[in-house]
Symmetry: C2
Subunit: 601 residues, 2 copies
């Protein structure tokens, strides 16, 4: 169901109802762009740390607009033994709601826009009829403005309570009236007083005064004869109207608030950017610190599941070769998987996966939900007794909770929202700095003695070089000591140095940090209130603990080693990162099976 500004108010209760009754929700966002860097590789280096990846996405992706949000709610019907779905396709646009509203700017990336255009995306629905939104800070500001307005209106004076100035925090200005204008002002003030006096004398039963603004921004004072009851009624009407205006301005953020406070499982596919954009656009500015971001995400989306991560993990990894959403959906329709039975709720149009409407957010959310159900049910087949339907409460899916897929990082498959991230040693990796003039060939030449290498460019003068054998790392470092033009260090040394730098940097900017903290706390007011029973923002362990043996159990990738043609291909594109995956994956399935075999559910 398409939801635009035209039908938003009418359909909002339907949306909230669907969320409230659902077993789980699937979401998907479409953005006006992905990366403001020179290319997508600006965002991804295969040896990024989770911190670095988060920083890159924050720096290079958040200026774009999330302008279509897909929500598909899934409710299991025990009688029919199938999921009943309700799918919504929201069009979103930061429409200015009045003359004081923030005039937001956002970036568009041609390739993304062109891609969506080719999919038949309706830009007019976004720009002409998109649903507005406010983040929590903006909502608070608007609420404050309304209260201040009410305070002043009820008080003695009706002086200016709102104005636009380069620094909006300044207090209203007391006008200084030049001598030659004093008579004029005095006369006007006198006349105004006279009108009020006459009004009170002529209409002793009372009057109601309100200021209305015409469509062409002219402001008029409307005075109505009323008795006390009518006056009170008018006041109440006014309050209701104000509340409605506020609700209108908050707009789509109310849907996200409903999702958030439902605490339902939220399923997405490769959902890191979806989550970052959603928080950034509808809640608050993203924090600089990754741990902060994790806590914030836990507050906004207490339980998430990423189907791309799920499909890339055993036992699925062994039988699913492509995890791009469309490919995954196709693969999951074939054995050993059983496509689930779903049915659109009454009044909701049903999607036909045979024709598909890929990259419409509502449809993508729907497909994502289907993939999740299929994979969950597949895990159920390993239980004893086997289950054909696995509920979202089942232990077989809980290992996938709160882990976000990390694109193209070879040895850290996911961002762990519930604790510290995996910490691979990367002891076969070198950090190399070199002159700007160097090409990829120079690096291959330099390390030619060590056999096959992988180069991951950081910038024009540095790169990671991954050697095949760990014991050659020390040799490479030793040799480099005689070199003047380049410098080689072990990955661990590089990271340690970088951590020291960022620590001292953070200390230096302490004030700014505390300032941010203070602001954030304020912004999180509603969040904290809503989730006071849940893990508080500061309760996450800050100290990195050693990775448990279970978590660090990794598998070598099962595809054949890259062929020479891959090497030739990568040498043709010297500075794009090599896509070859190296070491792979946390093996949850061991845990899953042992649990499943041991007991109930």
């Amino acid at each position: 169901m398409d939801i635009t500004w035209s039908n938003f108010k009418k359909q909002l209760p339907v949306v909230c109802q669907a969320i409230a009754e659902a077993d789980f929700l699937a979401i998907d966002g479409e953005f006006s762009g992905i990366s403001d860097g020179p290319s997508f590789t600006t965002l991804t280096n295969s040896l990024d740390t989770p911190e670095e990846r988060y920083e890159k996405l924050k720096a290079h992706s958040m200026e774009f607009l999330l302008f279509q949000f897909g929500l598909c709610t899934f409710k299991y019907d025990d009688v029919k033994a199938k999921y009943i779905i309700k799918s919504f396709n929201f069009y979103i646009f930061p429409r200015p709601f009045n003359r004081n509203s923030p005039d937001k700017k956002f970036v568009c990336q041609s390739s993304s826009i062109d891609f969506l255009a080719n999919q038949g995306f309706d830009f007019n629905k976004v720009f002409r009829d998109g649903i507005p939104y406010l983040n929590q800070e903006e909502e608070r500001l608007l609420r404050d403005q309304q209260e201040e307005k009410r305070y002043h209106t009820n008080g003695a004076s009706t002086t200016c309570y709102m104005y636009i100035s380069p620094d909006a925090s300044r207090a209203p200005v007391v006008p200084v009236i030049p001598d030659d204008q004093k008579d004029f002002i005095d006369k006007i003030v006198y006349q105004r007083k006279l009108i009020y006096q006459t009004m009170n004398w002529k209409f002793p039963r009372g009057t109601h005064v309100e200021t209305v603004e015409s469509p062409n921004n002219e402001r008029r004072m409307i005075i109505t004869k009323v008795d006390e009851d009518e006056r009170k009624n008018k006041e109440i009407q006014k309050k209701v109207k104000e509340q409605e205006d506020l609700n209108n301005a908050v707009g789509f953020s109310r849907v996200i608030q409903a999702i958030s406070s439902s605490s339902k499982l939220v399923v997405g596919h490769n959902m890191m950017l979806d989550i970052m954009h959603t928080i950034h656009q509808f809640y608050c500015q993203l924090p600089n610190d990754l741990e902060e971001f994790k806590s914030l995400t836990n507050c906004v989306f207490p339980r998430v599941l990423d189907t791309k991560l799920m499909a890339s993990t055993q036992p699925f990894k062994a039988i699913i070769s492509h995890t791009v959403l469309a490919e995954l959906e196709k693969r999951l329709q074939m054995p050993p998987f059983n496509p689930p039975k779903v049915e659109s709720a009454e009044g909701f149009p049903s999607y036909d996966t045979a024709v598909g409407q890929l990259h419409e957010a509502g449809y993508d959310a729907y497909i994502t939900g289907l993939c999740f159900i299929t994979m969950a049910d597949y895990l159920g087949s390993f239980l004893s007794p086997p289950q054909t339907h696995v509920s979202v409460q089942s232990d077989v899916i809980s290992p996938f909770f709160n882990k976000l897929f990390l694109m193209r990082i070879t040895d850290i498959p996911y961002l762990n929202l519930d604790g510290p991230d995996l910490l691979p040693t990367r002891d076969n990796v070198l950090h190399v700095t070199f002159p700007k003039e160097w090409k990829a060939s120079d690096l291959y030449q330099l390390f030619s003695a060590f056999g096959k290498i992988q180069v991951s460019w950081i910038d024009d003068t540095s790169a990671f070089v991954t050697l095949t054998q760990t014991d050659q790392v020390q040799i490479a470092v030793n040799i480099s000591r005689f070199a003047e033009s380049y410098c080689v260090q072990k990955y661990a040394e590089y990271v340690a140095k970088k951590d020291r730098q960022s620590l001292s940097k953070r200390k230096r900017t302490d004030d700014g940090w505390m300032d941010f903290e203070r602001k954030r706390t304020k912004t999180q007011y509603n969040l904290d209130q809503t989730f006071s029973t849940k893990k508080s923002i500061n309760s996450v362990e800050e100290e990195p603990r050693p990775v448990s043996p279970e978590e660090s159990e990794v598998l070598k990738e099962d595809t054949a080693s890259p062929t020479a043609s891959d090497a030739a291909e990568s040498s043709k594109r010297p500075k794009t990162e090599t896509d070859q995956a190296g070491i792979y994956y946390v093996f949850y399935f061991v845990k899953l099976l042992s649990r499943a075999r041991g007991g109930q559910r």
Copy 2:
């Protein structure tokens, strides 16, 4: 006539023909936004110098996209005694044309998008079917790539000639083949050679080899049996195809190139931003220096006329109170003006000014042209004998050539593209610096002894304060010498200090500047070629000369002095600039009349 990518190639000759036969052209652009600053006032201070205004527009407006370009051509038909018009409405979008094309990003401003949406603007036409474009640098790069490709294809090897890397200027990389892959590569190279040999032996009459790319980016080599003639034909076909690809990629820029090389008079309304965007988007990056910009504009648009400046200048100023395009158009339909007779050319839909389609670029261009004709004809009525039709060659309009209206600058009405700008003394203006905490009221208080003042904010800690009487300036400066919290200097002193600073800054960055110059010269290659007979870029006088008495003849504004209610209003909005115009206008009309009465035409 709407022109999108679907009909662009078919209609381009029609557009070029219309330009070639026209007496003059009217243009208008619609942008995805105006200012990336906190508000529109970021762009305008009523005491900006032309240099400052240009810098502000360049810094805060160029990230937006010119996505609709209106062109209306006007050709006078002597027999019918009316103008025949052809109006075009181009939809423009930086569509990526192949996998190597630049992935452009642009900013959208909610208020601008919302404004256009309310006018019924069709965003789908832009994003789904917009015409692509390249600037001159990009066109040159693409041409070079094609030539390099051709060179390599004709040469011995077919190695990689194009690739994407963080630094595209690097040379192709010689692949270093690891030992364990050498056999594999040797075998492939041998097999390839074998295929070529067999081909030459099997098909002695000759073969044609070409690489084609399928829609899903797979590349295949196609080998066709051909004799010598066929081979040559194929080569020619290929060249034609490449030229076509290039033309397609250059896209809308070809329309601007046609306008430019026609040297026709280009009329716009408040056209500074239109010109800046047009050059920025379709020619080259805007220079940092205003003089450079003027020279560049002279090359791209040798003759321009701004109807907003015309309407704000005598004799029109005295009888036209509003110069906003829609208001101006209405006013010019009433006496003493005679609305001109115009007719749409055959096959072109005619606009109805009664219903209007304001803010569609093609319509706005049309209206702008009408306004120009009406005002020009009005000037003709003062000639002896009076003329009902004034041609674009007439002396009565030449004083308005190459002067761009400067929004909201009270004492410098226009940017003079043909020489130095007006240099008002501003000897009743003070530059004041003060603590961040100061409000407008503090400034009004401080200068309350001097009667009515005007405050133009520069930033949080400085402002211009305009006094009513020049002789009080020295008193204010004298008093300030005893103050510690604020600092007052005369406008002239402030400017002198600023000029010294910018001069030393420019000296420091000399290398960067020369680097830019070098780049610009390269980029301007086509421009310089096209306009070699015109004023060369460096021929503009660099030394500011004193303003001639004729030019500096200014008139006090003829509206009543601002009332006290204005003062109260401006004190309510402390940091927005006061809109009240102070001193006004160069009085061309004196010159006009004296010329007109003196002579022929």
